[in-house]
């Protein structure tokens, strides 16, 4: 028996075509060139020379690359714990709360702020004897760590700075999820006496899954390519202790003009991200169908 939806296949193709075409032409086509470059030696001038897997071999031999990989993993874990966790907590706290919409605003403002101001103000806060040290000093705490110098502390504080900016968005997405939960099962659960933790685990969490998938999926992807905030605050240093993969890629490509090696790192990063995203989303999808 033909599935009920099959009669709409042509219509469905029409609906999805604009998205696929725009993304393919403007994002995938340039990416193909990058993939090609990852198998070559190229300094941005003249023509690329084919060297096969040489760049990938070089990449894994570099101890700095391994450090950068570990930092990136720290970013993924940190981003899933802090901004996603706090974002969910915020959404639950403001849900059905009179004035909740406005209580959420302070958390959204950081996202609306321009990146120009944000990187600068956090450097300003975390500088030795900066705003944070001055505030701690007022409470008599004078022995403070060197926030942006010592690893892995510098990565941790940068994750917090990034969380400061990103939490509001996650809260917003979770709120949309909460608001789209049908009223009936909720009421039924409430009548059964479910409150607090039980209401959350039995009704809210399963119902939130579509939007949780969005938030977690986006967080994984975004944290794997963490770049801007590290560049503006430590430039990956001192030495290379706070470098992330995206920054390593950037340095090889734009600073050292080693386009081949930079592209190889980009390809590696893309593959890792793609695998993580597909694995995660596939699992989410299969669970969804069970509901």
């Amino acid at each position: 028996m033909a599935s009920r939806g099959s009669q709409y296949q042509w219509s469905a193709r029409g609906f999805i075509a604009p998205g696929v075409i725009l993304v393919a032409v403007l994002l995938y086509l340039p990416l193909l060139w990058t993939t090609f470059l990852s198998f070559t030696e190229y300094n941005g001038l003249g023509d690329p020379d084919w060297i096969g897997l040489g760049n990938f071999a070089e990449m894994f031999e570099d101890p700095g690359f391994i450090g950068s990989l570990l930092n990136t993993l720290l970013w993924v874990v940190g981003t899933l714990l802090i901004p996603v966790g706090i974002g969910l907590a915020l959404a639950l706290l403001t849900w059905n709360l009179p004035g909740g919409v406005w209580l959420r605003v302070p958390f959204l403002i950081p996202y609306a702020l321009s990146g120009i101001g944000v990187g600068l103000i956090w450097s300003f806060i975390l500088s030795s004897n900066g705003a944070l040290d001055q505030a701690l000093g007022a409470f008599g705490i004078t022995e403070t760590p060197r926030w942006l110098v010592d690893a892995p502390l510098n990565t941790v504080v940068m994750i917090i700075a990034a969380a400061w900016q990103g939490v509001g968005v996650n809260a917003l997405l979770f709120t949309i999820g909460l608001n789209s939960i049908p009223k009936e099962p909720l009421e039924a659960a409430r009548v059964d006496g479910a409150t607090g933790g039980r209401l959350f685990t039995s009704i809210l969490w399963p119902m939130l899954r579509p939007l949780t998938a969005v938030v977690v999926g986006l967080s994984i992807v975004a944290s794997l390519k963490t770049f801007d905030i590290v560049l503006s605050m430590t430039k990956g240093g001192p030495g290379r202790v706070s470098e992330t993969l995206a920054l390593t890629m950037y340095k090889e490509t734009f600073v050292n003009s080693d386009y081949g090696l930079g592209s190889a790192i980009a390809v590696f990063l893309t593959i890792v991200t793609m695998i993580a995203a597909i694995l995660y989303l596939r699992e989410q999808l299969s669970k969804k169908h069970e509901i």
Partner: protein
């Protein structure tokens, strides 16, 4: 948890969250001539408008404001609709291999943007899109689509499929179902995506830097970012003031759209 406790917790954390914003404002308001880093928390003087004027004069804004506004409104608007259409095709119309197509679109967001900049520049200058407003709208739209498609696809999975079937029985075309039924139902998600992507476009530096050069095509942040450098230029408080200035429209946008999220969407009624 009781209402009062929740409100209290939110207020306390809200205040903590605003502390860096406070620092930003206080220090953006200090005169560069008397600025010191030793009294970060204390407002010393109020030169915010002077600093903003200085920033405007140094970066020669003006033209770029209008074009940035154009990009920040048009591109996310198109992207939201294109993304919703993709989500509709996959979820409601049950496109064959829907997950694979979804991954294709979502894949547009997984690689670092820095990697496509140079090929894009090359391609743009070959086909005459370099330094055109149309070219900028095009790339901002494409870059906003994956996020939009992701959110919309997942949002629509929360809608029972019999909503679609009932509409079909009423004799509605797929186009009509999309426009009249699914889009209105998703208004809060659409607005959320729009404001998030508009903010992204408004604050974009990378694409603007690479794909444009004229004053009337270059986005605003690209113009501002050049102000501070090792080789002289603006002082910290001037740059912070510039940051505050360009952030105003997006902050206002966030405040303005809050009412869309005030009412819960009773999807159960469909």
């Amino acid at each position: 948890m009781s209402r009062i406790l929740r409100t209290t917790v939110l207020i306390v954390f809200g205040v903590i969250w605003l502390l860096p914003v406070y620092l930003l404002l206080v220090n953006a308001a200090k005169s560069p001539l008397t600025f010191t880093s030793t009294t970060s928390w204390v407002p010393t003087d109020f030169s915010l408008f002077g600093n903003m004027a200085e920033a405007l004069q140094l970066s020669g804004l003006g033209d770029s404001v209008l074009s940035t506004l154009l990009y920040a409104l048009v591109s996310p608007a198109i992207a939201v609709l294109v993304g919703a259409a993709a989500g509709f095709a996959i979820v409601a119309l049950r496109l064959k291999h829907g997950f694979a197509w979804f991954v294709v679109i979502f894949g547009g967001t997984v690689f670092p943007l820095q990697m496509v900049l140079l090929p894009l520049f090359d391609g743009y200058s070959r086909v005459g899109l370099f330094d055109t407003q149309f070219g900028m709208i095009l790339i901002y739209t494409a870059i906003s689509i994956p996020f939009s498609a992701f959110v919309m696809r997942n949002f629509f999975t929360g809608v029972a499929h019999n909503v679609f079937e009932a509409a079909v029985l009423d004799g509605a075309t797929t186009w009509r179902i999309f426009i009249r039924l699914y889009l209105p139902m998703a208004s809060s998600a659409l607005v959320a995506i729009f404001i998030l992507q508009a903010t992204f476009v408004w604050n974009d530096l990378l694409l603007g830097l690479t794909l444009s050069q004229s004053d009337d095509v270059r986005p605003i942040v690209t113009t501002l970012a050049g102000m501070q450098s090792t080789y002289g230029g603006a002082q910290l408080s001037t740059v912070l003031a510039a940051g505050v200035l360009v952030s105003l429209p997006t902050v206002v946008l966030f405040l303005f759209t809050q009412k869309f999220f005030a009412r819960g969407l009773a999807l159960g009624q469909y």
